[in-house]
Amino acid sequence: MTTSSVDFSSLLAELESERALAETIRESSKELDKAYRSLASILNRVHSTPSSQIPTIIQATLPHFAHCRSSISAIVQLVPPHQYYKWCDDWSFHLKNTVFAVCLTYFLGTGFLLSKEEVCLVLSIDRSHADRFQLSTEEYLHSLVSMINELSRLAVNSVTLGDFSTPVRLSRFVKDLHAGFQLLNLKNDSLRKRFDGIKYDIKKIEEIVYDISLRGLVKDVEGQEAGVGVEVGEEKRQEVLALLMGR
């Protein structure tokens, strides 16, 4: 047996350059986080603003969605071809937050759920770079759970603002979403844990609806144009989507 000289220098160079790239990508996804923080602070106003002012809030979010798009395309440029799964953990957290903001904004504008494909349109996550950047179904579902958490808070605050029709609509919407989640066979992972938490949000909203309907405050909900989450028609939904896409 001869003594073999061990030489891993080329492998070391490979892993070191990967490490450097990971840092660049993480640095760049901080930009996405910044954009999300701005969005979050604007969207937070929804809890303290009469529902009539919601279009103003949506208008205010639009430049920040443009910022999200540019941050994402910066990340796409960094990821080497065909290596999506190698790097996706580096931005996943920020992407979930951003998608939550997109879905919430769209819901505020339309009363509808923005589909995963439409989210990709808003954030310009394109199929042509699917080997480098995608929105995974798990990430999208995480964002929906965040939105449900936020809507239960909104239900409380809309009542405080004297808007009694919103909780009824939120309750219906959140129940639809929950029914959807119940179709999934979730494994014992973080999504499962967060899904298990949704029921407290539903319960919270149901209690609010109970409180206000017991006192007869809920009246003619469907006829009202005002409030949050009023379901609008197809045409209007397209308009809002185009707004979010920056068109």
Binding site: M1, P55, Y84, Y85, A130, D176, A179, G180, G216, E222
Partner: protein, 369 residues
């Protein structure tokens, strides 16, 4: 949002309807008379249609998600199972290799375990009994090779079945459509191999440990990443075959990540330590144990820069250091005692046993005989 919002100056959309706050206040005054009234009876048809449309859309979308997530989870679980099977077969192979008889150690004959058959049927070659193949180690290595092929086959077929192969027509779960040109089949399947790397990785490490041990016994050196990868190309590489360069080309069926390769080699050091101490126990006084020690030292030194780059490498390095120390202690014991006992195999065996059972710490202590 109402109609006026899209024209750019829609900041005051609900001026036409009474402010909700005022209206609800009025509602409140009428509360008693309305208590318990069924609100759904007064739904406007338009909103009802929208709401139902929304519910069914959500349902459809989630059914799609369910199928996608189920497919992903099933595939992951199948691969974890494969990983476990690979681990257990690799452990058996390592156990088998530890039966290597150092008294018949002959690097020459080890190199020639397969010239007659030049392929995978190890059994046939055994009939041609030459002086060299009488060596029990040749038989052992032949058996090891059959076992090795079995593990390779397991990993290859898993990779093929789960569509890691660039020949697979399968696309990745998210329903990403095949793009023309740049983004064709190969990349998408390469993505899948990355996606499930964590499921199959532990088995792969164990396999690399077994393969590198086999390779060391047979060739006396460290298997390279290229040599490992060559076994997982679309066109399988025949060991000892004439097309040594053929393994460098061809599409990759199952990519071997650099980190798994290095972690597997780190595990190899434990096996080499056992091999070296067994060798001493069987009478070796340096022919085997010295090269093993220097290889172990080389591996440890070369792996050190990887500690911050690869998770788990730190722990493995400390195990390697312990292995190095154990061999050093054994060699010390040999040096001290061989002046007393010469190279009497029984005395050596006893020495190794005591050195190792002393936990590597008290290896040099005088023992009563």
């Amino acid at each position: 949002m109402t109609k006026s919002s899209s024209d750019g100056k829609g900041q005051q959309p609900s001026t036409s309807s009474p402010p909700p706050f005022k209206r609800q206040k009025r509602d409140f005054e009428e509360a008693d008379s309305k208590l318990g009234e069924n609100t759904s009876s007064s739904r406007s048809t338009m909103t009802t249609i929208n709401t139902e449309q929304r519910s069914s859309r959500i349902k459809n979308v989630f059914q799609g998600f369910r199928d996608e997530l189920d497919e992903h989870n099933d595939r992951r679980e199948r691969l974890i199972k494969t990983s476990r099977d690979v681990t257990s077969l690799s452990k058996k192979l390592i156990f088998h290799l530890h039966r290597y008889d150092v008294r018949h150690h002959d690097p020459e004959s080890n190199l020639e375990i397969d010239p007659p058959e030049q392929g995978d049927q190890g059994k046939e070659g055994e009939k041609e009994v030459s002086a060299k193949s009488k060596n029990p180690n040749v038989k052992l290595l032949r058996e090891a090779r059959v076992k090795l092929e079995e593990v390779v086959g397991l990993l290859r077929s898993a990779a093929e079945k789960e569509g890691f192969s660039s020949l697979g027509t399968d696309k990745i779960g998210e329903g990403v459509e095949q793009e023309q040109g740049a983004c064709a089949e190969i990349p998408l399947n390469a993505l899948r191999a990355q996606r499930y790397e964590r499921a199959i990785g532990p088995g792969m490490e164990e396999f690399i440990e077994a393969l590198s041990f086999y390779h060391y016994l047979r060739y006396g050196n460290l298997v390279s990443l290229q040599e490992v990868q060559a076994r997982f190309r679309l066109k399988p590489f025949a060991e000892g075959g004439s097309d040594a360069l053929g393994g460098q080309e061809g599409a990759i069926l199952l990519p071997i990540p650099t980190s798994r390769y290095l972690l597997g080699l780190s595990d190899l050091t434990g096996e080499l330590m056992r091999f070296a101490t067994n060798a001493v126990g069987q009478g070796d006084t340096g022919k085997i144990v010295n090269p093993v020690l220097s290889l172990l030292r080389d591996i440890r030194n070369e792996l050190d820069p990887f500690v911050p780059l690869i998770r788990d490498m730190k722990k493995k390095q400390s195990v390697t250091s312990q292995s190095v120390k154990k061999i050093e202690d054994v060699l010390y014991a040999i040096a001290v005692r061989s002046s007393e006992y010469g190279s009497d195999p029984q005395a050596l065996q006893e020495m190794v046993r005591r050195t190792l059972s002393a936990g590597g710490g008290g290896g040099g202590r005088e023992e009563e005989e």
